[in-house]
């Protein structure tokens, strides 16, 4: 544990929970996902006709260019967050994953499940991620990684002699080109489903626990709680 784990803001009794790289990665992911979803959907279904607007627009080319560029930024952002699993503070670290073999962790986990399903009124308090949300994030990051790998693999097909292709072409031994496209597209909807959940849960917990769920992802600070 690093010794800045519990930096306290003396006056307000706040704890620094989300370090800068975590917040940067969070908001980069947010912007990237929005851009990638829109451009990606356009690439799947080009709904704007160039001639509707102006004859010479390079519209599909632009969408694809944006999609690739933002895809690269997204990959870096996800890598930054994964790196922070190993060097970040205790809230960002992989140490915060609940251990299914520990009774204590199991208890908190099921307490949250009960809370979500209205079986219990008050959720137990956690400063970092709540354990159910954490599972969702682990699934989500796996989706991110799959999106990045399939995305780069599809991109690399433009030049089968490229290094990128050499690095990613194994993907096509698992599934044909067409199915890789299909999954890349379908995963966007899974991520969109998560975004709805994520927004709702953040608002719910901010409201329910007054623990600064929303403000902390801007500022990094959360109010200290003993209970």
């Amino acid at each position: 544990m690093k010794n800045n784990d519990n930096i306290k803001c003396a006056a307000k009794r706040y704890i620094y929970v989300w370090e800068a790289p975590v917040r940067i990665s969070h908001w980069l992911n947010f912007l990237c996902i929005i851009t990638l979803s829109i451009t990606g959907y356009y690439i799947h279904n080009p709904f704007i006709h160039a001639s509707d607007i102006i004859e010479t627009t390079y519209i599909m080319g632009m969408m694809r260019y944006l999609h690739y560029l933002v895809g690269v930024i997204f990959a870096f952002s996800v890598m930054l967050r994964l790196f922070w699993l190993f060097v970040g503070n205790r809230y960002a670290s992989w140490h915060s994953f609940s251990n299914p073999f520990r009774k204590e962790d199991r208890k908190t986990f099921f307490a949250y499940i009960k809370y979500y399903t209205f079986l219990e009124k008050n959720p137990p308090h956690t400063l970092g991620h709540n354990p159910v949300a954490l599972v969702a994030y682990i699934v989500l990051f796996n989706l991110f990684i799959l999106q990045i790998i399939t995305g780069f693999a599809l991109w690399a097909q433009a030049d089968p002699n490229s290094t990128l292709y050499a690095l990613t072409s194994w993907v096509f031994s698992i599934a044909s080109n067409q199915w890789v496209r299909f999954f890349h597209y379908l995963m966007m909807f899974l991520i969109a489903g998560f975004v709805i959940n994520h927004l709702y849960s953040a608002i719910l917990f901010d409201f329910k626990t007054q623990s600064g769920e929303i403000s902390s992802i801007f500022s990094g600070w959360k109010p200290e709680r003993n209970s």
Partner: protein, 363 residues
């Protein structure tokens, strides 16, 4: 100056035309035009290996493609009149005589002849679904292919099983490579294969004594190294966002991109747009129909529906598309969390009142 020269003369092909052809071939092979004289030499050389052309579960489309190397072109001469010893569809011999001729070639030119295979090989029920002269296709292929210098699988059926191997594959159809595991197999998929690529592959072998560089699906890189989409003449319309929306609409008449009509050019590796068909006259996309991806492994199963961008999802009803399933997922999560929110809000009303009352009591 030998046999070939006389035949060329007989067919009215001038030396000049022959050399021109050799230059074109160097282009197909992605070699410098400086190779043209060497190519001419290689073709003229009388040591060309004989070819045995086998046909199994196929439609003879590749043989047709071979025969349509139209006019007495050099391609036709190189492949057909000069070296093909056995070809069921076009040879003069028949019955036992033909079988005997094949056996003789196998024995006499062991490990020196080229074996071309057209069609997939059925393996279910001991391979009885395709027998020639009382022998099963597997049996013949193992003998003839096994003793060849190398094997060329022409057409998608021979290369990947093709139509016969498409779901549910009643005959247990397999590709040539699946039968001849450790043999050098060159795949020239396509429905049918393009004869120019076959000539080029054979000539590459004559020239360098080795098969051309292959990709991971064993296709020569010179022919399958780039996507249709990246060389398509409609590509500018794709980038400009100009798409055909309906067959025969204004865009279709203007030659716009067929992406929205399900063109599989973006996922298909082939040199159709550059080599083209019928002597470089045209090719499917140029003629106004989207690419169907016929040279990709398993295309019958993965490239369908032909007129849609992405495959239908089996097990989700007849026409469930990714978009439908995706929007359902998003819709369900919106409903679930919406309901959760409403219930929470209702439950909280009591809670807020309770806290307020306690607060007042404490005052």
């Amino acid at each position: 100056m030998g046999k070939l020269d006389n035949i060329l003369k007989e067919y009215g092909v001038s030396r000049r035309e022959f050399l021109k052809y050799c230059t074109a071939l160097s282009g197909t092979l992605a070699l410098s035009p400086a190779f043209a004289p060497k190519i001419a030499e290689a073709i003229e050389d009388d040591n060309r290996p004989p070819v045995i052309w086998l046909e199994f579960q196929d439609c003879a489309g590749d043989s047709e493609s071979l025969l349509r190397a139209n006019r007495p072109t050099v391609a036709e001469l190189v492949l057909d009149y000069l070296s093909i010893d056995y070809h069921e569809t076009i040879m003069a011999a028949a019955g036992h005589q033909a079988e005997a001729a094949r056996d003789e070639t196998v024995k006499k030119y062991k490990n020196k002849y080229i074996c071309v295979v057209e069609g997939s090989i059925p393996t279910a029920d001991d391979g009885i679904y395709c027998c020639i002269g009382g022998r099963s296709a597997v049996d013949i292929l193992k003998e003839v292919g096994g003793n060849a210098a190398f094997v060329i699988a022409v057409g998608t059926c021979a290369a990947y099983g093709g139509l016969p191997a498409a779901y549910p594959n009643p005959t247990g159809a397999k590709s040539v490579k699946e039968i001849l595991g450790n043999k050098t197999v060159i795949n020239l998929p396509g429905c049918p294969m393009n004869v120019d690529n076959l000539t080029a592959t054979v000539v590459h072998y004559l020239l360098f004594g080795a098969p051309p560089a292959l990709d991971k699906f064993l296709r020569p890189k010179f022919a399958y190294g780039k996507r249709i989409h990246d060389n398509c003449e409609r590509r500018a319309h794709f980038d400009a966002g100009q798409f055909v929306e309906k067959w025969g609409d204004e865009g279709h008449r203007q030659g716009w991109c067929l992406y929205k009509m399900g063109c599989k050019g973006p996922e298909t590796f082939h040199n159709c747009p550059t080599v083209r068909w019928n002597e470089g006259l045209s090719w499917p996309v140029m003629a106004g129909h989207g690419c169907v991806g016929c040279s990709e492994p398993g295309f019958w199963d993965t490239m369908t529906p032909i007129y849609r961008r992405l495959p239908n999802i089996p097990g989700f009803g007849v026409e469930a598309t990714a978009t439908k399933i995706g929007t359902t997922i998003v819709g369900i999560s919106a409903v679930v969390f919406g309901v959760h929110g409403i219930v929470t809000a209702i439950r909280n009303r009591g809670l807020v009142r309770k806290v307020e009352n306690e607060f007042e009591d404490n005052e």
